[in-house]
Symmetry: C2
Subunit: 602 residues, 2 copies
């Protein structure tokens, strides 16, 4: 076999690391038609274990890429949480049950659990259908970013040089390759080589909390074996996360003597094993039985709570996922935060690469995601302390009471569900007209609601009309279109939109940049889709109603739910990632033009 000399190539985006964060990036960029490659050092995808909880918001995001159907088919759903505390009679007793999440507006009011390999497979299969595959096993051996300011400012330049080494080259394939990239995304995990290469520090520290994790099919008489359980016993704490099929995952609190090597003071995995973990669990579950013959996967870890000091180098190299934040896995945050990092970046890179947006748009990635990561660590610090703390027994004392824990669980609910993510004002978040859609919070994700299509009375979830297709969704809440005066206002708005941002930033094919939907507040027997001006109905499917379906099962009340005036209406711009970018009354449509002018090129 002859190994050719080193090869050299160019790419728009190189993704390093094919975990959930890297796969989300490569999948979304490929779907947007971006020239992208993704490499990973592992010879094959993850088979079992590792992260496995998908939050309500992440399900919404996956749905926006058309990936949620399979997730929901394959995954387990976690709807209920149960709490156990020390019983006066010894052992544990149930002190309450509640919803697993605290996010009334969630479209999917539960979490999905599924092993990481199955989640990765959803991305891999969808990517394969687009002809994009993970190149593996491939390791980067060097990365260099040009220091030339002119080169960095030129959107057509390839200022990042990465040398890739293929660990198993096929016949005729060069062993090493120099890749010149416009952008690089380092999604290479907690020990990120990309992060280290640029000397980006991790701020924060390790905790003293040590946990063991084991995946089993339980043989048990415990009645909440299919619910998320937080169990505080005098023998330690434990959490159950039910999984696909009959599997469950146990998180088991360990003590120093369980796992630390007394000589080195470091975790010694040889001191532990799944059988020993189950011995600890059995004591915690008393008087219930908890037995397993076989173990799918297990590990032990010390919780670390750290955030990278920066998320990008000159907006040419980005880090995402575990590379920029590490925290406790118990609240199921890790994989969700990781996927949502790159979800935030995909549309921004796509718009810049197409020449539609200014490169300054990319600064909003770190702005939005680093603040979120910091909030995540703050949350994790509080939650881990509560969870790892000693329970208060019926004898009293200074332990954590059930009420304290439950309150924390619910307070943080919006956060742990991912629904509460709130991006602060920036070039892509303009809040000045918030009052015109009081309950559609600018900077938060577009709230789900069912509207009915005017042409055929078919109900649609509005989130499904705002897919992650890199287009801005312009939702024209047209008010009462059965009123002639309002129709005149709508016509004036249509003229302003068409002569304004729609053509100015949409160019010859504005339908590729903007998807305009009109939503009338009039009842369905008073609306024909043909009533709306042409720019608000580029297709018969684009006109909606705030009314129920024909059997009044779904729909209606959307204007009220969103806090929009039913007579006058309002314009709502939803970003390509599903977050509300700006709200404006008809009279302030110029502010929508200004919003787009802040980052888009005419």
């Amino acid at each position: 076999m002859t190994i050719p000399a080193e090869a050299e190539s160019s790419v728009d985006v190189l993704v390093i690391g094919a975990g959930p964060s890297g796969l989300m990036a490569a999948h979304g960029l490929a779907r947007a038609g971006v020239n992208v490659r993704i490499v990973d050092q592992r010879p094959a995808k993850v088979a079992a274990g590792q992260a496995d909880g998908i939050q309500p918001r992440t399900i919404e995001v996956l749905q926006s890429y058309g990936l949620a159907e399979r997730l929901l088919r394959e995954g387990n759903q976690m709807h209920m949480a149960a709490f156990y505390n020390p019983s006066p009679n010894g052992g544990i007793v149930r002190t309450g049950r509640t919803a697993d999440i605290t996010a009334p507006s969630a479209r999917y009011p539960f979490e999905v659990t599924l092993h990481q390999g199955a989640i990765e497979a959803i991305f891999l299969d969808s990517m394969a259908a687009m002809g994009v595959h993970v190149e593996r096993p491939v390791v980067p051996t060097s990365i260099e970013l040009s220091a030339d300011k002119a080169e960095l400012k030129d959107p057509h330049s390839h200022p990042v040089k990465v040398v890739l080494k293929c660990l198993a080259p096929t016949e005729g394939q060069p062993e090493t390759e120099v890749v010149n990239a416009k952008y690089v995304i380092g999604a290479d995990g907690a020990h990120s080589w990309v992060r280290k290469s640029f000397g980006i520090s991790m701020d924060g520290e390790q905790t003293n909390y040590i946990w063991g994790v084991v995946d089993i099919v339980p043989d048990s008489n415990f009645p909440d074996v299919r619910n998320r359980c937080a169990i505080h016993s005098t023998n330690g704490s434990c959490m159950i996360i039910p999984r696909e099929g009959d599997k469950i995952r146990l998180y088991i609190q360990l003590t120093d003597t369980d796992v630390l090597n007394p000589e080195t003071g470091r975790v010694d995995k040889n001191k532990m094993g799944p059988e020993k973990l189950m011995e600890v669990a059995k004591k915690t579950f008393y008087p219930y039985t908890m037995h397993a013959d076989t173990f799918d996967w297990w590990t032990i870890y010390i919780i670390g709570q750290r955030v990278a000091s920066k998320f990008s180098v000159n907006e040419r190299v980005f880090i995402a996922g575990d590379a920029c934040h590490t925290h406790s896995p118990k609240a199921g945050q890790g994989m969700n935060a990781s996927m949502n990092d790159t979800h935030n970046l995909i549309w921004k890179l796509s718009h810049v690469l197409r020449g539609w947006a200014d490169m300054s748009l990319l600064k909003t990635y770190e702005f939005e995601r680093r603040k979120y990561a910091q909030d995540l660590i703050d949350f994790d610090r509080k939650f881990s302390a509560l969870f790892s703390g000693k329970p208060r027994t019926s004898a009293g004392g200074d332990g954590v009471s059930h009420e304290e824990f439950l309150q924390a669980f619910q307070t943080f609910g919006a956060f742990t569900s991912g629904i509460g993510i709130h991006y602060a004002p920036s070039p892509v978040v303009h809040t000045q007209h918030q009052a015109h859609a009081r309950a559609l919070v600018v900077g938060q994700r577009m709230r789900p609601h069912v509207f009915v299509r005017a042409a055929d009375a078919r109900p649609f979830e509005v989130q499904d009309l705002c897919p992650a297709d890199t287009r801005f969704k312009v939702l024209v809440f047209a008010g009462d279109t059965s009123d002639a005066a309002q129709r005149a206002r709508v016509q004036a708005l249509a003229d302003a939109v068409e002569q304004g941002f729609y053509r100015r930033f949409g160019g010859a094919e504005p339908g590729k940049v903007f998807d305009v939907l009109a939503i009338s507040s009039a009842p369905k027997d008073k609306v024909d889709y043909t009533d709306l001006p042409p720019v608000f109905r580029t297709h018969w499917s684009k006109v909606l109603l705030d009314d129920t379906d024909m059997f009044a099962r779904v729909g209606g009340g959307g204007y009220d739910a969103y806090g929009i005036d039913k007579t006058k209406g309002a314009v709502v711009v939803v970003r390509p990632d599903g977050y509300v970018g700006i709200v404006a009354p008809f009279e302030s449509i110029q502010d929508v033009d200004d919003y787009f002018a802040g980052f888009m090129k005419a």
Copy 2:
């Protein structure tokens, strides 16, 4: 190429004809693990045109086979119907809109439209995954049924001999083959060769109504182009059926002079074409525009309304679908009736072939489906007359008024939706205890309702827990299991079930014959799945609650909706095809034993 001598083989079931009826049969039998073959004379599946409307009940049936998801993804949904009548100013004017179906209990409150080829593909792909393919182009050249009574009564015999001729044999494949079958299903269309071979007559007659059909992508300003429209104009009647994508189907009433050859008195397709059909349509739609440049498919037909005099020959040869009933396509009945014919037959054949049920069970196929077909023709006769009749104009007269038509449309709604199908008492329909579940009509399909799983508070549609897997579903409405006295009654019932039909007819593996589900009326905070006796929870997933999900979005009120006493409960047996077979109070569990004893072997 050498053609081998004639081959001979055996099969349990031979299906002749791979239209919707035959495909439903072959797919369902294959899924049940039955040894089945299916042949068709056409060299390839239908590409476009032909039947295309799927009723609400048929969607439920397809869902029970796991096939609805794709149908719903690919098909158009028809939620609304609009009515147009002559305007006093000339042309037509909208006189009203209503729901497309009249069936408040429908799980899917709409019809799906999709061309027949796409519907067939759903079956073909699912069959292919099970290794079953349509053999084509193959024609049967002779069929013989043994006259030997002993042979006919022997469940292991193969009394039907069919000679098949392959029209395009591959190398080494015999051109003709003698197939000895236990059972044959003739699903070979309106001109059924199987039916004619046994001299089965068609009762009924042709009408004088002549219609043209054309599939187009309209260029139109008609505001109801995406709704089912019934248009009565002084220029003739027309119906719109919106289809997948932007297509619509137009049904256009024709006059004798449009299409009859004056010499022969028969329809002459050469007198018509899609352009001429559109000319007729344009007049009907005035003052709206209705234009099309291209035509997907078109045809003309005279409505026939006939039912076969019998549906089987000695319960060894069955006919199904268009082979036993022909009627107007406008109410979208044909394909639905056809698929539901064989849906009714699949589980009966499966149980007899496995030796679980007596061959007499097969008599209920003709009993149940022929009555339905007759009702269908009666309905069609009335509806076609109304639809083809002259409209009443504002000047009055004796035509059909909008009110008359609308009333008929709604009266027949339950019928056209398929939801109202009601099988009369028979060995598989025992109505004596109807009062114990007043709104679960014995002989009708199991009504959809959402219940919540006790173990994890996950909501489930009960129809999804009653899939078409050939098992009888025994739904134990266990009453208030938080009450100790009721738990004692439930335990006594469990003992009776286990010592009774469950073991008697379930043998060593009763889980293959029966799927037992328990539904408590107690709220979720008062139930653990472990509260139920083992026979009512063979798996943690088998215990349900009549309560809402954690956010009170779905579920609850099921006992009331079904008319079951919340304290005492009742037992409901759902047949493998989703129809309620018997209802009984706990005290009459012996009647459930008797029900099964009526057709099953111990």
